[in-house]
């Protein structure tokens, strides 16, 4: 089975379970955050994807990390993906779940990366600005990423609007290299 179809299949299954448990929004949000943490942490990624590590131990890692911070349903769904040996697909599955969940609410997911946490008021104004800029009703999901140094980068589908300091430094690097 092609990887894209497999990811779609897992996302659809998780979406149906979350919808049946009436926790679609929460599960979608938590999965999105877990996926970002998975991408950012090499030790976590290695622990969950290493085939030499037993599934029970991987499940123990998930419980230790998520047990008290996320809903049991989300923990179980993450455990389901990891025990199936698809931990490496977890970010893509989480993105697809968030996208489908947002679509179910006639919204588009806007992944927003900043160096620091944003307060609710700022997120609300950012959401309004993104709605106007993209012409879509977006659902903002904030990811704290210190590598952006400062500013904001938003990705809505294929559209990326980058206003980060790291992006400006990269542009400066390219300009210097071209001269």
């Amino acid at each position: 089975m092609p990887a894209d179809d497999r990811i779609d299949g897992y996302a659809a299954a998780i979406l149906e379970v979350a919808r049946a448990e009436e926790q679609l929004e929460r599960v979608g949000d938590e999965l999105f955050r877990i996926a970002r943490a998975f991408e950012a942490s090499n030790p976590l990624r290695e622990a969950l994807t290493d085939p030499r590590i037993p599934v029970e131990r991987k499940m123990g890692v998930i419980d230790d990390l998520l047990g008290t911070k996320t809903s049991p349903l989300t923990v179980n769904l993450v455990g389901f993906v990891v025990s199936a040996g698809r931990a490496s697909d977890l970010p893509a599955i989480a993105d697809r779940v968030a996208e489908r969940a947002a679509n179910a609410r006639d919204k588009a997911v806007a992944e927003v990366r900043t160096a620091v946490e944003l307060d609710e008021a700022t997120i609300a104004r950012l959401t309004t600005a993104l709605n106007k800029a993209t012409g879509k009703d977006v659902e903002v999901k904030v990811v704290v990423d210190p590598t952006v140094i400062g500013g904001v980068v938003a990705r809505v589908g294929d559209l990326v609007i980058d206003g980060t300091v790291s992006h400006r430094l990269e542009q400066l690097r390219e300009t210097l290299n071209q001269r």
């Binding site: 944003l118 950012l126 993209t134 140094i149 500013g151 904001v152 210097l176 290299n177």
Partner: protein, 188 residues
Amino acid sequence: MHLLAPIRLLAQVTEEPTTEPSGIDLLLPASSELIAGLIAFAIIFVFVWKWVLPVVDKRLAARQEAITSQLTAAEATKLEAESLLADYKQQVARARDDANRIVDEARQAADALRTDSVSKADAEAVEIVRKAREEAAGERQRAAGAIRDEVAALSLAVAEKAMAGAVDAKAHQKLVEQYIAELGALRP
């Protein structure tokens, strides 16, 4: 002696006891001597005319013929020698011309070779200088590029560190507000 005997006899007959001669008679011979002399002359003349002259003429003719033949042969030899000399001179002139031509050709070939060699050497020298200049320019550009990249990387690394330390909560908030303002200027 046999031929002179009648002449002597005739002289004795005619000789008469005479008086002693004088005057012109001292100069003129005696008649007997004159006659004897004429006869002797005639005999000698006839002898010479009859036997000696033909022999002499024959020998002279032979001699003349031989000389003529020799002169003719000499003339032919002379002509032949002149012809040979002319041929020789012609050959010498031709050989000289050939030698001059060969020397000229050799000189021209040497000149052409020298000119060609000089031209090739000049072209090679120009090419070597051009390549050296290109390589030097390329090396200079590569060095400048490497230095520029290094300076850019260092500058950006310094800038990143400076920015990471300089962006506080207030600056973050300002950057976010600026981003929201810029989003407002965008159109879908």
